[in-house]
Subunit: 379 residues, 2 copies
C-alpha cells in the first residue's frame, strides 16, 4: 500500500472527503513527503478519499512534479496554475466538499497535543475557510500519526541503510580533524559526504570544549581545541533520517571526569535499551536511565536537562511522543516505532558529553541500529 | 537602531503592545532573524513596545540564547522553561496585554496579500487565543515589511560580501566539474565551500541537460553530460543571502540555439536593469525584458514561465512584491530594496538557460552586485 492509499484508508475511518495540503515553499514537510520532491513555490496537494488525487503546482514546477510522481508510482492529476487568482479558482472547485482534513494540531502546549500536525499558517486557514465557507476543516493529525509513527518494512530498511552510511562517516572523523580546523569546517566535511548520497537531516552540531555543554549548539567558527568534541549529526536518504551523537576527546589524555561521565552514559544508555519494547510506557527507559546516573552520583536533574529520546522518521524530530521521565504513564511504545536513545551530562560553560543511538522498538527486545564506541575515541 | 528598537518603533505606530513569535524548531524564520541563533525546540520571543523584551527558550537552550543575544548586543530577559505547561504559564503572564502582533498574513491568495508574514500555525494561534482570551491579535506584517524590505547600510555591506564569495565559487565551477561527476556531487562541492563561511541560502539547483529546463529542479544523481549545465545557488553569511544563476556549456561546441538564447537573455537582463530604480513600477523591468525577448523571436509567454525577480534578504525568497509583468501598476520599487533579475528560456524535456543577478535598487540607477559571464563558459 503506498502513502496515498494509506491516507485514503484513514480518511475513510475519520469520515473525511480528502486531505488538503496548502504549502508555500517548504513550510509543510508533508509536501515533500508526499510528492517526493521539494517545491519552491505556492502549491496544493489533495489526497481524495475517492482516489481522484490532485496536485496544483505553479506552471514552472508542473513538469518536475509530474516526473517525481511517475518515478514514485503515484497517481494524481497535475493541474498547473499561472497566478494566485487562478490557483484560488482551481482550488475552490476541488475543496467544495463536506469535510476536509488540514494540517493543524489541537491542544498545542497541552497534554495530548497533536502539535506534530501543526503546519498550516493561520492566514492560509482563514483564506481557505473563506474560499469554502461550507466545508468543515478537521485536523489531519490521525493521518499523519498513522503514516509516520509506526514504520513499514521498507522504511526500516531505509533506516538501517542511512544509519550505516552515517556511522561510517563518524568513524572517519579522526581522519577529518586536523589541529586548527574550525567546528564549521568539520561540519562542512561531514555534510560534503552527505550531499553525495542524500542530505543532512539537520544542521550538524559540532561542539568543541565548552560548546559541547550546549545540547543544541549552533556550529561556530571556533577552532577545535583539546578536550571534548561533541558531534550530533544526521543524514537523510530516501524516506528515513539518522540522528547520532558521538563525543570524542581531542588531545592525548582524556580527563578522569570525562571518562567517568562517558562510561556512565554508555551504561545508562544500555540499561534504557532494555525498555525500548512494545507496550512499555515511554517514560520507563528514561526513568531507568536516570536511576542509573543517580546511582553513579550524578545530579541528573541538573546535569541532564533534556528528554532521553524522540521519534525519528522522515524528519529527525519525528512524529510520536517523546521518551522522557515526564511522559504520562499511559503513553506506550509500539513495535516498529523508531526512537533515539541519547542521554547526556552537561556542565554549562565547561563541557558536556552526549551519546546517541537510533533504536527500533521490538516485540521482546529492541534493535539498536547504530552504535557508540565503548571507550571514547581519542584523537 | 537595532532590530528590536526598529520593531518597537513600528509597534508604536500600529498601537501594539508587543510582537510575539511562538515557534517550534525553525518554523518561523523570524526567530533566527531576531535571536541570531537557530532553536531546535518550542520557544517564544516577545518584543515589547515598552522595551521589556523577553525570550522563553527550553532550559537546554537558555545558555545558547543568552550567549547569542549578548554577542549581538541585544537586551532581553531570558526565562527558561522545563515543560509545555510551564511554558504556557509563563507565556500567559507575558501576553496579558490589549494588542499583540503575531506572524500571520492577510488576504492570502489575493491582491495585496501579506503572505510573507504567514507563519504562526493555525493550532498555535488557537492555543494563544485560548491562553489570552482578551488579547487582540493583529498581523505583524507591517513590522516584518519594515524590517526586511528596505535594507540598511550594514545589510547592503553583507550583501556585497556574500555575493562576492558566491561569485568566486561560480568562477571555479569548471575546475570542480569532472566528466562523470553527478549533479549532486557538484552541489556537494559548492556547499562544502559554503559551509566553511556560512550556509547555503537554499538547496542549490544543479541541472544538466533536460534538467536545466526545470526552473526549480531538485538536484539529482544524474551524471553531468555534454550540453547546458544550469547552476542556481545562494549563500548566506550574516544577515543576507545571495541568489545567482549561471548557465554553463559542458563539451566542446555550444549549439547555436544555446548561444542565441544565452545572448538574448544577457541583453534582456541588461535592459531590465535600467528599470530597477526607485519609484518605478515593479512590472516595468519585467515588461521591458519580455519585449526584448519577443523582438528576438522568442515566444516568451511559453518559454519564460516565471517572474523576472524576487526580493532578497535574510531569506533567498525575501519580503516584497515580485518583479513580474503581472504585478499591479501601483506597486513600486524603492531605493535600497534588493531584487534578483533572472530571465530564463526553457524548452521542457529538452534544455533551458537562466541568467540571474542580484540588484540593489538605486535612486537613478541600480547597483548590479553580481555578474554573469558575457559569453557562456564552455568546459
Amino acid at each position: 500500500m503506498n502513502k496515498f492509499e494509506k491516507a485514503q484508508q484513514i480518511l475513510q475511518e475519520i469520515n473525511g472527503d480528502g486531505w488538503l495540503i496548502v504549502c508555500n515553499e517548504d513550510n509543510d514537510i508533508h509536501s515533500r513527503y508526499l510528492l517526493g520532491v521539494g517545491s519552491h513555490a505556492l502549491h496544493a496537494i489533495f489526497i481524495a478519499t475517492d482516489g481522484n488525487h490532485k496536485v496544483l503546482p505553479v506552471a514552472m514546477e508542473a513538469n518536475m512534479v509530474k516526473n517525481s510522481l511517475k518515478k514514485k508510482g503515484l497517481d494524481a492529476e497535475v493541474i498547473p496554475f499561472n497566478s494566485e487568482s487562478e490557483f484560488m479558482e482551481k482550488l475552490k472547485l476541488i475543496i467544495k466538499k463536506p469535510k476536509i482534513a488540514l494540517d493543524f494540531g489541537e491542544n498545542i502546549f497541552e497534554k495530548d497535543t497533536t502539535s506534530y500536525a501543526d503546519y498550516i499558517p493561520f492566514g492560509t486557514h482563514l483564506a481557505l475557510q473563506k474560499l469554502a465557507p461550507n466545508t468543515e476543516f478537521i485536523s489531519a493529525a490521525p493521518i499523519i500519526y498513522e503514516l509516520r509513527s509506526v514504520k513499514s518494512t521498507e522504511e526500516l530498511k531505509d533506516l538501517r541503510n542511512v544509519c550505516k552510511a552515517t556511522i561510517e562517516l563518524l568513524e572517519k572523523v579522526p581522519d577529518m580533524t586536523k589541529v586548527g580546523i574550525t567546528e564549521r569546517e568539520l561540519m562542512a566535511k561531514l555534510e560534503y559526504e552527505y550531499a553525495k548520497v542524500g542530505k543532512p537531516a539537520f544542521s550538524a552540531i559540532v561542539g568543541t570544549g565548552e560548546n559541547s555543554a550546549d545540547p543544541h549548539h549552533n556550529t561556530s567558527n571556533k577552532k577545535i581545541n583539546p578536550g571534548p568534541l561533541l558531534i550530533d549529526t544526521g543524514l537523510q536518504i530516501d524516506e528515513m533520517c539518522s540522528d547520532i551523537t558521538w563525543t570524542y576527546w581531542v588531545g592525548s589524555n582524556p580527563s578522569r571526569e570525562f571518562i567517568d561521565a562517558y562510561n556512565a552514559l554508555y551504561e545508562a544508555k544500555k540499561i534504557a535499551n532494555k525498555y525500548y519494547t512494545d507496550g512499555t510506557p515511554n517514560r520507563l527507559p528514561a526513568m531507568k536511565c536516570r536511576e542509573y546516573l543517580a546511582e553513579k552520583g550524578y545530579d541528573h536533574e541538573k546535569l541532564f536537562f533534556h528528554g532521553l529520546g524522540h521519534a525519528l522518521d522522515f524528519e529527525a524530530h519525528g512524529v510520536g511522543p517523546r521518551v522522557s521521565s515526564k511522559s504520562p504513564e499511559n503513553t506506550l511504545l509500539k513495535e516498529n516505532m523508531v526512537y533515539t536513545n541519547e542521554p547526556g551530562l552537561y556542565w554549562i560553560g565547561k563541557w558536556g558529553v552526549r551519546l546517541e543511538d537510533d533504536i527500533i522498538i521490538g516485540k521482546e527486545k529492541c534493535e539498536q541500529v547504530t552504535y557508540v564506541p565503548k571507550d571514547p575515541i581519542v584523537m
